[in-house]
Amino acid sequence: MPSSLQFQIECRPDFSLLAVQLKQGEKIFAEPAAMASMSPQITLQAGLKGGALKSLGRMLGGESLIVNTFTATNGPGEILFAPGHLGDTHHYQLSGGAVLLQRGAYLASSEGVDVSAQWQGAKGFFSGEGLVLLKASGTGDLFFNSYGAILEIDVRDQFIVDSGYIVAFEDTLQYNIGLLPGLRGGGFKRLFFSGEGLVCRFSGEGRIWIQTRHLAPYLSWIHAFRPSSSS
């Protein structure tokens, strides 16, 4: 019988830090480089989490979902996880349903949660790349993070979100990714994939989590300061 992990999310909403206290023998899986600090009872094993993710390698163009496994081998212990971005972290309790996440949003999950990749295909995308979503299902704790703050929205009918700002959503929702007529994306977006005017239309009922900042505009802002190669 899987029990919930004991955890606190501290320093919200801008510098969130996830503190997890593991009982002897308990495990948690996390994205690489997420571990900020841990007590000596915890052992870390790097690498793929089980056979379920074998097919990922090819789907993500050679990239697989690599997770590290933390086990409280030598007694109860604590681990502090920090996401790469300045932002918030959210906990979701999975019990049979599923949550879809943007690839960079995955932080950590407990045993009993299965994480696989969902490829959104190349239909209608300029660069031929698609939106890579992860699907978390099963029973247990899921932790996801944002760049910027997280806004939680209950969708009752329809809602449109710019694809770069999606953190996660419940799979009870139908979603459709495409261009929004008339909407132009930020200046140099075509250089850093997030799509020009690419939005995700949600319909049905379910919860979505969106972030209030995203990396591509920041990268395109920095781009303007890069030296010119002709100088």
Binding site: G148, A149, L151, F159, F225, P227, S229, S231
Partner: protein, 227 residues
Amino acid sequence: MHFEMLCRPAATAVRYTLDRGESITCEVGAMVAMTTGLTVSTTSKSRGGGGGIVKGLKRMFSGENFFLNHFTSQEDQQTLVIAPTMMGDCRHHRLSGGTMIVQGSSWLASSGEIEIDTTWQGFTSALFSGESMFWVRCSGRGDLFLSSYGAIYAVPVSGQYTVDTGHIVAFEETLRYRIGKASPSLIGSFLGGEGLVCKFEGQGLLYCQSHNAPSLGKLLGPKLKPR
């Protein structure tokens, strides 16, 4: 039109509630989420030259266009959430016939009858450091939304006030200004805008930001591969 500031102060977003016929204009890339009863169009304005030439940096903004997304509500009670690029805050300023000069990267949105002029070149004649900044002149009646890198603070100038140019978010056109070195004894390269400040004089409102985005850009830029 109603608005609400969310997630302050470091990752602030603005949520608008619009009724049929109401509209708002935002910088491109600002749209985070919206309900389906809004239509969008894109307009562009020619951007004023960035002024000056700094060795090694191209004139980034000269001749380029400033694109705007214009959202119009076709139904009542529609929602639009927008957010700026940088980590920081947003501020609302009600314009009632006056004029605000806004730093280009701090202009987030405006509604009502605000005229947006992107060819203002008031600073560029004096500066070498205009590369990374352009200015938007906003006049008329309506709501102006500003964003900042870091925190935003208002200074009601009455007399004199000096601000590093990268820390200016916006100021009322009633203020007189002069660009110069912070101090005559300041040693350092003039090129690249080091030590350049704007000395304001007169009466008017000035918005400043706690952090200096152009400085950060100039710090990071040279460390990146040339484009």
